[in-house]
Amino acid sequence: MANLKEVRIRITSVGSTQQITKAMKLVSATKLRRAQNAITQMRPYAQKLNGLLANLADSIDVDSLKVYFDKREVKNVLIVPITSDRGLCGSFNANVIKLAGRVIAEKYQGKNISILPIGKKGSEFFGKTKHTVINDSRDAFLTLNAETGFSIGERILAEFKAGKYDAVEIVYNQFKNAATQILTNDQFLPIDKSTFGGAGDAKNDYIFEPSKGEILEDLIPRILKTHVYRCLLDSLASEHGARMISMDKATDNAGELIKALKLEYNRARQAAITTEISEIVGGAAALSSN
């Protein structure tokens, strides 16, 4: 029979765990809302950029931009897995790591792989693998704003342009809603030209200052950097969504556990009382028979 005191201690301990998970869920909900706001904030910016591009798309064949579109023979690959800094968010990080592993094994078998992890969890994992790990962007989430996002993008673009890598792939959780993340691997570079072919607003007679080509030279890297930033924001919102859901489940589970333990506790108490009564009755009977 379970010891009364033992069960009581377990009930208290599960209860305080439940309190923690409940608090974490609330915190995640707030952070999720903030992360979602950041995504909504940057949406008009991205839309406008793409709208501008549609007006310029006919002169996209500028020489200086070819480097972003041309498919080279792939020897060196950069993988950018975006994970979170903290755990307790279900399979969020494990999924990214698994998918990154699959991309490396299937798409880039035998190539020279470098990894630029963003987020501590991914950095910890890939640090144990045999790939080259570049660790200086892993803390991007500590100070996430457009500037950090853009500077990571800038760095990837510069290294790609310099020929250090022949392909760049981003693996991250795309944010759909609080309960759903879409695990995605994006070929970031070289760019597939068809993704830029979107129909824009009707052609207007613009004056281009200084020239279409030069504006594009500014615009395309900007769009790419915005894309990196967007991936970061998506991943952050997904992380909080995932943590919210898993903490919600943990709270529910703790509740069930407490219910079962209470039942066990009451049963043990009842049994103890019954034994006590029968002992007293037995004692009294022994006395009176004398």
């Binding site: 406008k48 457009a146 207007n204 004056i207 200052e209 504006i215």
Partner: protein, 76 residues
């Protein structure tokens, strides 16, 4: 004219303006009411706007500006 100054983080300005001076990559230029349609790349510098309430300044680090039908959008 309607003026919007947008960055990836937030909207710096959105409202009516009488004139806006932009740091174009080929030199500073000013946009007044009913300017012709224009797309220009911008350098790092200051965006000066003149509104009914007075003048305002914003620092930007490069970007693109679009002028269309009395509507100016600055992406910084």
């Amino acid at each position: 004219m309607q003026l919007d100054i947008i960055t990836a983080d937030k909207t710096l300005f959105s409202g009516e303006a009488d004139a806006v001076t932009l740091p174009g990559s080929k030199g500073q230029f000013q946009v007044l009411n009913n300017h012709a349609a224009l797309i220009s790349s911008l350098e790092k510098g200051t965006v000066k706007i003149k509104t009914k309430e007075g003048e305002k300044k914003f620092e930007i680090s490069g970007g693109v500006a679009e002028v269309l039908k009395n509507k100016v959008v600055v992406l910084a």
